[in-house]
Symmetry: C2
Subunit: 163 residues, 2 copies
DNA sequence: AAAAACAGTTAATAATATTAACTATTTTAA
DNA sequence: TTAAAATAGTTAATATTATTAACTGTTTTT
């Protein structure tokens, strides 16, 4: 007998701890990546929402026609509206984002990228794509499709648990 | 034409954004779960390290024989040693953890669960396992094994990029 | 028309983590 | 074999990131 632990090997647990670890590594890499452009991770995530990045789970789940608003960002990021207000405040100061009042519902403020914001996102794209590719190198297209499917099924399961 | 985005569909990007989203959901669920026992997520993660949970990527990667120390925890959690010192301070106050000076190297302090800590981990285990199972329901054993393999390959890729 | 719900904001504060400077000990190498 | 460098841990000050609760203005419900 090599070693005995209080806790047994369990495939589910191994997967979930691995998702958590991968995400920690991913986040660190991403913070290093966007901080070179003076952004925090959360600010960057808001920018790609405004750029309607079709790879975002929030947009994969359902199509959005009108420009996104702070409320929806809070929902997609899993944080409070007050927090999003502050994140947007910074992006407004940086002139990366525009706030447009919704004529039909004057409580709402639609958010859009400025030209400067669009330019920034476009500039970052090539390096982003190549960085993402190297994080998944060695996986075939079929494996990647399966990987995405497993992640989505897991997300859906967790979202269903909240009820 | 339905809609055009600045950003194109890209399988790699979809996967990485999905990992990030799944992890946010997972973390929220876990915080709710452990806060019922008066723990933060980080405190809980330290406890399962001390319980030598064989599902932790840190232990899957390499076997550890001696009790873990703060330094190694900082490495596994991806945070600073100073942060771990504070986390352990709280766990010491709660009498969940013991600090034992290493006789061979007096700089080092080995960490162990107290009886109370062991009991807590054991008590949480059944609910933890059933919660984890429901997060991965609908996936076959083969799919789960593939899922874990993809996550590990992705983690390894990201760790290799740091050089 | 009144009450409730919704979107956003603000101010105060909680939580979580980092940096930099320090002690003590061990390892390296000149 | 000492002097310098590296390692483990801690502390204090502070940065960061986010939350809660109370508020305004607008729209929807009853």
């Amino acid at each position: 007998m090599i070693h005995s632990s209080m806790i047994k090997k369990n495939l589910d647990t191994s997967i979930l701890l691995s998702i958590y670890e991968t995400s920690v590594l991913l986040l660190k890499q991403n913070i290093a990546f966007v901080s070179k452009r003076g952004l925090t991770n959360q600010q960057w995530v808001i920018l790609i929402h405004l750029a309607k990045d079709p790879n975002l789970p929030y947009f994969i789940r359902e199509t959005h026609h009108k420009p996104i608003m702070a409320n929806e960002l809070a929902d997609s990021l899993g944080v409070t509206r007050a927090n999003v207000t502050n994140l947007i405040k910074t992006l407004l100061q940086k002139k990366l984002v525009l706030q447009i009042e919704d004529k039909e519902d004057r409580r709402k403020k639609r958010l859009k990228l400025t030209k400067k914001g669009e330019k920034l996102v476009q500039e970052i794209q090539p390096e982003r794509i190549s960085s993402n590719a190297s994080m998944l190198k060695g996986l075939s297209k079929k494996e990647k499709q399966e990987f995405l499917s497993y992640l989505q099924r897991c997300s859906n399961n967790i979202m269903d648990m909240k009820s």
